[in-house]
Symmetry: D2
Subunit: 292 residues, 4 copies
Amino acid sequence: MRLQMNDALHQDVGRLTISCADRPGIVAAVAGFLAQAGANLIHADQHSSDPEGGRFFMRVEFHLAELPERESDIRTGFTQLAEQFGMSWQLSAESEVPTVAIFASESDHCLLDLLWRWRRGELAMNLAHVVSNHERLRSDVGAFNVAFHHIPMDDHEAGEQRMLDLLAPHAIDLVVLARYMRILSADFLERVGCPLINIHHSFLPAFAGADPYGAAHERGVKLIGATAHYVTAELDEGPIIAQDTAAVSHRDTVADLKRLGADLERSVLAQAVRWHIERRILPDGRRTVVFR
Amino acid sequence: MRLQMNDALHQDVGRLTISCADRPGIVAAVAGFLAQAGANLIHADQHSSDPEGGRFFMRVEFHLAELPERESDIRTGFTQLAEQFGMSWQLSAESEVPTVAIFASESDHCLLDLLWRWRRGELAMNLAHVVSNHERLRSDVGAFNVAFHHIPMDDHEAGEQRMLDLLAPHAIDLVVLARYMRILSADFLERVGCPLINIHHSFLPAFAGADPYGAAHERGVKLIGATAHYVTAELDEGPIIAQDTAAVSHRDTVADLKRLGADLERSVLAQAVRWHIERRILPDGRRTVVFR
Amino acid sequence: MRLQMNDALHQDVGRLTISCADRPGIVAAVAGFLAQAGANLIHADQHSSDPEGGRFFMRVEFHLAELPERESDIRTGFTQLAEQFGMSWQLSAESEVPTVAIFASESDHCLLDLLWRWRRGELAMNLAHVVSNHERLRSDVGAFNVAFHHIPMDDHEAGEQRMLDLLAPHAIDLVVLARYMRILSADFLERVGCPLINIHHSFLPAFAGADPYGAAHERGVKLIGATAHYVTAELDEGPIIAQDTAAVSHRDTVADLKRLGADLERSVLAQAVRWHIERRILPDGRRTVVFR
Amino acid sequence: MRLQMNDALHQDVGRLTISCADRPGIVAAVAGFLAQAGANLIHADQHSSDPEGGRFFMRVEFHLAELPERESDIRTGFTQLAEQFGMSWQLSAESEVPTVAIFASESDHCLLDLLWRWRRGELAMNLAHVVSNHERLRSDVGAFNVAFHHIPMDDHEAGEQRMLDLLAPHAIDLVVLARYMRILSADFLERVGCPLINIHHSFLPAFAGADPYGAAHERGVKLIGATAHYVTAELDEGPIIAQDTAAVSHRDTVADLKRLGADLERSVLAQAVRWHIERRILPDGRRTVVFR
């Protein structure tokens, strides 16, 4: 849901995400803290992975007059509460939009859909860069007034270094792999210092690896899928954020699967990016908690 | 989600549902009250129809040791808090399962699906009676060891009176119209004294009224649907609980639409009944808030 | 399905669509005629609205060496057969792509999706013109190297005349209304001389007319939809081509419904346009037969 | 689609399925043969796996007066045509319903759904036997007046032999594994002499093997699925007939996945069985062609 309030008020909307070991009184403590600070809850979602001995997750969207001026005090106060419960937590104003870089290769469907949703205001992010190992999408990106960088990957190590140099000055909060067809090294993943979201063109864990549409056709499945997931050093094994499938039949060639799959890929990836930048996703080991 | 705990603990799980005018501090007050009472929140969902001047809805599932013994005290305490905020509220233990009557006519698909889900433990309800204006489904119902009552409706007023007489001694909490093909009078609806859920065989508001599959075929739609809704005196106008659709084509005859629609009807109705008896549905004027 | 053959062969792929009163021997006659001509069937679909006294529909995709050179003879020969069975029929080579005009207003989602699918080769059409009653989308259209015409509709009659003057020299085969928000007169529909496909932002016949998302929110439905249909003089009453729905909840505001609905609208419209230009749709009175 | 004609006419409806190497003239030859015999086509579907050097598949539903009396002549005549094209083919009257055995274990959802659809006329089959390695479902099966056989599988080889002895006298056309939890030996599969359809509780090839819901929960997928497939000696590797998925979230426990999955399993299996007994499925190596 999007809150409908005029733009001036966005800076007074805060988002607090929390995870800690589950125990009684957490919601009361958090809600009490916010109420005492004068905040009004807009949404609150919580989840416990197990009522006994599990992990507790919470996301609160609240309105607090003059949040920017008061954020520092809120942080100080909440730090005490967080220590008491052993919480990992993040606080941000809705107006603090994350800075994002998109990596793409030659396919345009995921990239253009993200650019278009960003332009129309569906994705509240600063779009710092588009990076590609090909020249092909330069003019498409230019039409959205976004910087396009061609970084060839023939020399993989040098390419990764160039990407890191490019991103370093920008305090990137998220890298989106919008059908970026090169495998990034574990070293790169560590050094880039922010989460990466990838779109895989199958319903993982089915057809992990390369050419999933060819493999799906060969196996004769009756549905194809797409999976958005966080990137980890183990290929195709990162925490899954969103998945969707579409029905196919014996009539569909590999080319048809690719065409139909492209529609799934772009919508699933856009959904995952949206949830991430709205801080709806909390990691839970190999899984994700998604507060929609 | 179903909490997984052994049966002995179900009686210590409480459900609290609240609605009131929105204002700051409600969640803190409710969560604080429950924490002070020693309760541990299992789930909490809330919704505000509008952050300014809207209505606030909340559903809390909590665990409280010795809830049955302490329920009276909890009620007394919460009444004060509720008055302060002008709340409508309901409190019940998960172990207090509602008493339900099902009305059916000649079609068996919705009725049998409810009976089967009830038998396998998906629907936590006491199934008091099945009422039908036909004899046809008697043996099917008997196989589930549920009382079957044939109440002919040739004399509509007398039929309704017989139904009221039958239900009166049982403190019925819910009547489910599982493809019951007679229109119940406004007088009956008032006197029965509990909510009624109906399944309509179209995606309302399309094809309200009789013979929706015939009308859908005549119009040439490419999808059919089913709608579960609360019954009000205005036919097919009650608050919608759940809806689903399925794709159809020029190949499908009216008979095909009925067959395909039956699968939608039974799943949509079962979902609505499940949500109702788990107290997941809060009325919001002509609409519903459903905490899934 | 897309046939996978090199471009040179596309001109040898023919499409024959037929409708007539059903009677024995039609398929044998048509298949026999094509076999005798040396054609190889790629696909054949047929449908009878009723085995007794119904209407028969058929679509054949075939390969015939040197089709362009032989098309005239084929037509002459088939005319005889068609007269015998009282057939309405159309024959065209896959390489004869239709000429299409798109009308849009201020929303870009349907228009841009069509332009993008056309550019990537999903929609085999000549895109002659984009017409809009606003200036807003000019540069977006320009990026695809398609002519953009701003025709204001303050004077509706004059506007329609300007549109007819614009289209007249181009032998337009199809007009697509991609969220064009002005109602075209019956006179215009007649004079434009080709079919028009419109996208309506609801699951018709529900919420016909203006502001369907507002009406859907007010009614509290649990799904929203989109409908692509041929345009007739009766508003929102033309033959339905494609429909889809998506689940929504109490959390979704009217703005959310519009955002979610936009995704449905663009995919449903693109599907309908694709089917039309591949000659997969045969009219059947108020309904359509769609050979997918 | 189901043809709507009175029962007396069902015996005059024939189904012809064909597969052979693709080449020009097949449809003309088949349709010509049937037309000459006086048959009227109700449906005809065809598919070529590749226009050049591929395999051709066809299914024809036709009406021929006095089909039972004329079937022998038709067969003789068609044999000649089939030899000419090197066809594999099957001809049967719609009234010749296959004889089916269902194997189940302790879960009732798939079995009861098949029994119920069979009773209401959705599945045109003779239901010869229900076999189970447990006693649990005996009375449920009895309510449908179907023979129930408890064949324990502690001694696997002896159990399989008992099953073969049971089925031998009945000319079984199909065995349906409705959540039968024992692995049948390659020897059994060969000796039973008819196709077997199994329902696997995952979207294969994901989560092949045992405990797919546990594995799905552990992996944190956002959708679960079910797959109906023909059984081959390689476990979970047989040709896929039908698949479907449903969305799940972090809230869903393994128990929830099982409950939600049960609804998928029963609908996917029923669909596959329906298609098989209506002769809509043609094998294509490791894949299937399904003419819906």
